[in-house]
Symmetry: C2
Subunit: 344 residues, 2 copies
Amino acid sequence: MRATVIHGAGDVRVENVPDPKIQLPTDAVVRVLRTCICGSDLWPYGSMPESETGERIGHEFLGVVDDTGSEISGLQNGDLVLAPFVWADNTCDFCGEGLQTSCRHGGMWGVGDVDGAQAEAVRVPQAQGTLVKLPVGADSELLPSLLTLSDVFSTGHHAAVQAGVGAGSAVTVIGDGAVGLSAVLAAKRLGAEQVLLMGRHTERTNLGREFGATDVVPERGDEGVARARELAGGDGTRTVLECIGTKPALETAFGAVRDGGVVSRVGAPQYAEGPIGFDVFFRNITLTGGVAPARAYIEQLLPDVLESRIQPGRVFDRTAGLDEVPDGYRAMADREALKVLVHP
Amino acid sequence: MRATVIHGAGDVRVENVPDPKIQLPTDAVVRVLRTCICGSDLWPYGSMPESETGERIGHEFLGVVDDTGSEISGLQNGDLVLAPFVWADNTCDFCGEGLQTSCRHGGMWGVGDVDGAQAEAVRVPQAQGTLVKLPVGADSELLPSLLTLSDVFSTGHHAAVQAGVGAGSAVTVIGDGAVGLSAVLAAKRLGAEQVLLMGRHTERTNLGREFGATDVVPERGDEGVARARELAGGDGTRTVLECIGTKPALETAFGAVRDGGVVSRVGAPQYAEGPIGFDVFFRNITLTGGVAPARAYIEQLLPDVLESRIQPGRVFDRTAGLDEVPDGYRAMADREALKVLVHP
């Protein structure tokens, strides 16, 4: 079959790889109907050292069950299923707490001998715990929005949940990428009243406004912080959702949050150390967030997607076949595309 | 009058200074009955650049009202009062939220023209909001424990509150200084079931055990983390209270906390950047805490002290007159003394 393999910075290829097969009785094989490229895929695309063998990549997909191991019950060939971006048994104590990203028997896609999702098919470890059956057909118009529950919308939701966003909240969202826009939508869905979106790409911030942003701050750095604080009555909002992952973005987040408030970060940190010194301490700012346990959220977000109350799939602004995936990476890296949906 | 002035690292002097006077109608003057030396005073004692004029120092005190400005009501000469370690109007919106450390009209002792507390008397700005009347006499045996509400016990309490410690909690406390021991007592008071105290000074950890520590971990670094995790069932406790303020202590805290857990820090950070990179992110660890709004806690902690249900004043293991304050600094820096109580 065909699958995406990254060989280094700027070097994404679609190659022939062996067909996935059941290796463990807890595996399933899923034929991929939709996958996509994540903003976090752009980090290795920007900096991965050259590798001759390369690594499978992609961690968001939905598809059709093609085979199941002997210990799988409740899933049958032909079922349409969604996978969260971290696989997990969904039975251990961490999973029971809703922290499937720390599952005792789980892991990441595209690591070691685990398949990446930008491919025609994927072997799914711990399939019984990982996969969620979708009550729609393979031709549903909802597939793009359903796919966002795998990662990007669940990640925006996690940012808002961890920050404690609720009815009447004032929220600042840092970043107009797909995660930032998802965080806007998630905050709005949870009842936020004021949602400041910090971003300067008008097409994206326009979608942000449709998702619920009440104000847009195109300025960056100190100027952006000053503007965001001003829009929030002078002191900043009580919650700030940091959806980029760079140190400057985190600095902006700490600048824009009200004393005693919460910065919730969901952009994968591109720093080993961050600015949490005396100022953040003296102002009693909490830093929370992390990698989103999407598996914990899929069922609760599903009804709003199925009934079209929210349309998180609008973050996809380009569609590609599998062979066009390398160009999709380029387009996202060049900011030509916000997020690329892939039909393998 | 006599007051403590710090002129640089290792150079603390008791000098003659002008008597404090009412400068603003919101001021009071308090004659100091008890003050003390704080672990955080040791940071300038360790590293302050030389200064000819020096700076007043000390931020914990209780005493007797000696004079009041024209806008003060509810306080009279002769009243015994306690001051929190940040002064505040206690009426602004931040104060109303219990964040008096961010008061719009408040500030720190010993900064600019504001007096330090290691002195015979102190001018108290925003006295009406800052001072809390104490229902005991000047000869009360409770004065040491009451004084801890000014900072050290309130700070330990803040660590525990911000971490969400409650009935049945498992808690790791990093540091066997006076703040760490106060955090042990505060966690126990809030109902914690398991309290691991990381510290290696037996006299201090013994007091920690009396305060409620169920286990003591004398090892440091990776070895200490491994031992703490093991004592907490292998995964670490859900809450870790970081009571030192150094980067290694924060690293230990992140090492010792369970995935999805909370590190609450109350040691003043001696770092501009801290280790909050991918590992902390992937494990969904929250970093909270900060400078304790002692003013918010004094009234609620007071009954337990007045009725001797807790004795946080046991952290004082040495008593000094004002002229002995320089030697008190030396003794604390040399770890001869845990915390020095001063009778001016």
